[in-house]
């Protein structure tokens, strides 16, 4: 590899690392800083990056460095925080000089091959989480049991229906309606006693927590553009969930008449 090819490979490596971070819910400042650090370590001084919520613009070019420009669109994937951690660790190790460029590329590929969470454990985790929330929000043990089932069904719905066939907005709408429907069923025919408690606990599974927290952190570190987009995404999520719940309540009222509860 001559010097020019080497520096282009560095830019490609930085882009790949940035992409991995961004699509798995890292903050904007972390993405930019990691890419900047990789480039500086391998001696591409003129590299500059502009990171948005769903894209990275990168360029380099000076007397010493070759011309390089790339725009890549990066749709937000599932949040795999373990990948973010692994890339973070990798960039540390790159800086302390443990990797050549080729090795670092291979390491990134390894990270992408890290095994994901299993569907079964995801479903079990949301059942357990919802049951715990039910207790935290003042439910009885019966509510806790009913909520566990509601959480189980909701996560199955999210994995097999929302994530596969629905857009984000419609997915949240349908999710909110589904939660309310399941909780109404569990209250009328199952062990549930306190409908509100069950619905509130189960809704927690749908809440866009990653966008919300990351948006705030982006705004705190003055990345207003991306932060605003993420916070907006979270607020839209909250609003859609609420509309879904309202929709289901209204239908229930129409069909069975009178007050809920």
């Amino acid at each position: 590899m001559d010097e020019r090819e080497r520096k282009l490979a560095v830019m490609e490596l930085a882009m790949e690392a940035g992409q991995l971070l961004l699509e798995n819910g890292a903050e904007i400042s972390r993405v930019s800083e990691t890419m900047q650090r990789i480039c500086r370590h391998y001696g591409v001084e003129s590299a500059s990056f502009f990171t948005l919520t769903n894209g990275i613009l990168a360029s380099s070019g000076s007397d010493a460095d070759p011309l390089y420009a790339k725009v890549s669109y990066i749709p937000v994937n599932s949040g795999r925080l373990d990948w973010v951690c692994a890339v973070n660790q990798l960039s540390r190790e790159i800086e302390s000089g443990c990797y050549t460029i080729v090795q670092a590329k291979e390491a990134l590929r390894q990270i992408r091959r890290m095994p994901g969470k299993k569907t079964g454990s995801t479903i079990a985790a949301s059942a357990i989480a919802v049951a715990a929330f039910s207790l935290m929000f003042g439910g009885s043990w019966a509510d806790c049991l009913a909520s566990a089932f509601a959480g189980l069904f909701t996560q199955i719905f999210v994995i097999y229906v929302s994530n596969r066939y629905l857009s984000r907005i419609v997915g949240k709408l349908a999710g909110g309606a589904f939660v309310t429907f399941v909780c109404l069923l569990l209250q009328n025919f199952g062990p549930g006693q306190n409908l509100s408690n069950m619905i509130i606990s189960t809704l927690m599974v749908l809440i866009p927590g990653v966008s919300f927290v990351n948006g705030i952190r982006d705004i705190a570190s003055s990345d207003y553009l991306s932060g605003a987009v993420r916070v907006l995404d979270a607020l839209l999520g909250f609003a859609c969930i609420a509309i879904g719940v309202a929709f289901c309540f209204m239908i229930y009222n129409r069909v069975f008449g009178g007050m809920i509860l």
Partner: protein, 154 residues
């Protein structure tokens, strides 16, 4: 007292389960669970002693953020790993639910009231994160030996 213990354990279980949903690496589960539970218990204690929901959420968020940064520096991992799952119990899901419920049942003033309190809670979370975010990184390195000179973002 027993009630608080149940609450602490429930919050711990919920936070760990959410850590799994967000794909947090497994060896961070105990710490993450502890941080989430500590935040929740502080929120409950403050709220039950008359501090009001918004103030309680503010202080609980600040505690969660402080602990997250503290442990992130020591484990050399992103703050996000502890922060996101830890903050979930404080997110105003109840406020959203009640405002929708009152809206549907035509109790508009109650709906506005609970919607507004949900908004206040969200603002408290934002403030808590932003305030602690501004603390300089070196405060969180107290008691650590400095093996590398570079300050790194967590």
């Amino acid at each position: 007292m027993l009630d608080m213990l149940v609450q602490f354990l429930a919050a711990m279980v919920a936070t760990i389960a959410f850590s799994l949903l967000f794909g947090v690496p497994r060896h961070y589960y105990p710490l993450g669970g502890f941080i989430g539970a500590a935040g929740w218990v502080v929120y409950l204690l403050l709220d039950r002693n008359g501090f009001g929901a918004t103030t309680s959420v503010l202080f609980a968020t600040m505690l969660i953020m402080l602990l997250s940064r503290f442990f992130a520096v020591r484990c050399r991992c992103p703050v996000t790993v502890f922060l996101i799952a830890g903050i979930i119990p404080l997110v105003p899901g109840a406020g959203i639910y009640w405002s929708t419920y009152y809206l549907v049942t035509n109790q508009i003033s109650l709906a506005a009231q609970s919607g507004f309190s949900a908004l206040k809670t969200a603002v408290a979370i934002v403030l808590g994160i932003v305030i602690v975010f501004e603390f300089p990184q070196k405060w969180f390195r107290i008691g650590m030996k400095r093996e590398d000179g570079t300050m790194r973002m967590m």
